[in-house]
């Protein structure tokens, strides 16, 4: 028991140390390019983790999650174009925008169930997609460039390593919050709703309210991920809100392990690194991804997370 406890605590510690050391080692080895790659992985990990809150913990199959990701990115880009470049101002606004859109879309969508919920979230996301396509003042279909990364006092985010470390800290912080939330009263209620909503109502829980809060919090986290991705790419276009992007986040989560705390991280890492490696060899890298996905769905339905056995809440 004591041994198992120590290994289960050792592994995350090792991962954190490795993650902290990575940019310095990569720069030293002349692989500075990979710092950006890993930053992108972590940002997608955050986006997929926010979807995990909705899908894995809340049991809601949202097919429009990229909308909140995109809204966060656009918030930062639009503010920058209007002269607001401070991260202290822009990022919280991106988070608030993600939350606000999730609140409104969720308030309507959560009145439906199952397939209808999937379709209505998809429809809302596509509406936002076309909204940004027609938003000529901010690039329309072509999207807009972010002239420079957001500014923070003391930290220079133009430095790849600094930005990497900031993203790492935010991802770790969000994962910690998710872990607290999952074990809290709120998390317990979510689990109950996921398993048996009718019973939760019969116990006196206003289930709609809890699901809406869950959906909104996830929208806020996706908004933060959006603020980071536009800083990473220096560019945002409507394609970030497209339904294929929502699909990508879903695939990441399925790859990584739905309902497992680190499912989004594992999935984003698996998918983006697979893309990185396979696309060097072939333009048909998505075929390879498809095969891997097929394998995971058929042979390890819990995602790669299930290979780590313990800790997968879906167990």
């Amino acid at each position: 028991m004591r041994m198992r406890l120590s290994t289960s605590q050792l592994r995350p510690a090792l991962i954190v140390i490795a993650a902290l050391a990575f940019p310095f080692l990569a720069e030293a080895a002349g692989g500075g390019y990979y710092v950006g790659v890993m930053t992108r992985v972590m940002i997608y990990a955050l986006a997929a983790t926010s979807l995990n809150l909705v899908l894995g913990y809340g049991g809601m199959i949202s097919f429009g999650h990229a909308a909140f990701f995109g809204v966060g990115a656009y918030a930062v880009a639009i503010l920058a174009q209007e002269g607001v470049t401070s991260a202290w101002a822009a990022w919280p606004i991106a988070v608030a925008a993600g939350a606000a859109f999730a609140l409104v879309i969720g308030a309507i969508s959560l009145r439906t169930r199952g397939l209808y919920f999937i379709m209505i979230t998809l429809a809302f996301a596509q509406m936002l997609y076309y909204f940004f396509v027609s938003l000529r003042a901010y690039g329309g279909e072509d999207g807009i460039n972010l002239a420079a990364r957001s500014r923070l006092p003391w930290l220079d985010l133009r430095d790849e390593t600094t930005f990497y470390l900031l993203v790492l800290a935010l991802l770790a912080g969000c994962l910690y919050l998710l872990r607290r939330l999952a074990a809290s009263r709120f998390g317990t209620v979510l689990r109950g709703i996921r398993e048996n909503e009718a019973r939760m109502t019969a116990l006196g829980y206003p289930t709609y309210r809890y699901r809406l809060v869950c959906f909104t919090v996830a929208g806020a986290a996706a908004g933060l991920a959006g603020a980071l991705i536009v800083n990473q790419h220096g560019f945002v276009s409507p394609s970030l809100l497209d339904w294929t992007q929502s699909g990508t986040l879903l695939i990441m989560l399925i790859l990584g392990g739905v309902g497992w705390l680190y499912g989004g991280v594992a999935g984003a890492a698996a998918m983006l690194l697979l893309e990185e490696v396979l696309s060097h060899w072939t333009g048909y890298w998505k075929l390879g991804l498809g095969l891997v996905l097929l394998f995971v769905v058929l042979r390890a339905p819990g995602g790669v997370g299930s290979w780590f056995a313990r800790g997968n809440t879906r167990g």
Binding site: L181, F186, T188, V189, E195, N196, R199, T201, A202, L203
Partner: protein, 253 residues
């Protein structure tokens, strides 16, 4: 006479051309075990669903403890003291028996919009849950996954979940559903025990159980109550015999 704890007034509900609840009146007095019987399709399930707030009636009123709850959502009715068990077992299969009950306890012990403190640190929830389980003779299974329990124990947990809400009125929807004779006896014993402290409205097909437990029986036929009274009076009511009991007894013979 005291006001009834639950009162249904001229409740009406139709689905297309089918009238499921036909200007139904019903009064459940505090402290009684009130059984609702009737042939299949008599509208028992629809009535329960309306009392619990799952289906909205077309017209009529539902009063609970003197308050009109007709428009109140289901969860708010539970908060007022309306607890229920389901005909089809609805427990949290992946949770332990204790955690099942703890969720019920949590619902009535302050807000659950709390995101930080671990539930596991709230000793009071587990202690309260254990108290409920001890009372129902289920303490030994507290640590087991609810889904791993034998059917009869799952049915017992189903009732325990409703009871853990500390209801003023306990709605039992076919508590003996799918039980063998021996388990049914144990459940009848349990309900007899609950009778001491809470009012019960029970839908049940097992006439043996109904006549042993009920203080009042209402007979539902075609969406309306055709007779209501003490068990003996119901047994002797010619209309009831013709509409329902006779048919059952013939079938049983």
């Amino acid at each position: 006479m005291a006001d009834p704890l639950l009162e249904v007034r001229r409740l009406f509900k139709h689905f297309g051309g089918v009238v499921a609840t036909d200007r139904l009146d019903l009064a459940v007095l505090e402290g009684r075990v009130h059984a609702l019987i009737g042939p299949n399709g008599a509208g028992k399930t629809t009535l329960i669903a309306q009392i619990c707030g799952e289906i909205a009636p077309d017209s009529g009123q539902i009063l609970f403890a003197g308050r009109d709850i007709t428009k109140l959502p289901g969860h708010a009715r539970v908060a007022l003291g309306l607890g229920r068990s389901f005909q089809i077992t609805r427990i949290f299969r992946s949770l332990t028996v204790r955690d099942n009950i703890a969720l019920a306890v949590q619902a009535r012990s302050g807000s659950s919009m709390r995101f930080w403190r671990p539930v596991a640190a709230e000793r009071a929830l587990a202690d309260d849950a254990d108290a409920v389980l001890a009372e129902l003779g289920m303490a030994a299974s507290a640590g087991l996954a609810a889904g791993s329990l034998p059917h009869a124990d799952q049915r017992r947990l189903e009732v325990a979940l409703a009871l853990a809400c500390r209801p003023r009125l306990l709605l039992l929807d076919e508590p003996l559903a799918g039980m063998g004779a021996e388990d049914a006896q144990a459940m009848i014993g349990l309900i007899a025990q609950l009778k001491q402290r809470t009012t019960i409205l029970m839908v049940e097909h097992d006439m043996n159980a109904v006549f042993r437990l009920a203080d009042v029986i209402s007979v539902l036929v075609g969406g309306a109550v055709i007779a209501s009274g003490a068990p003996q009076a119901i047994r002797d009511d010619p209309e009831v015999r013709r509409a329902y009991l006779g048919e059952e007894e013939t079938a049983a013979a």
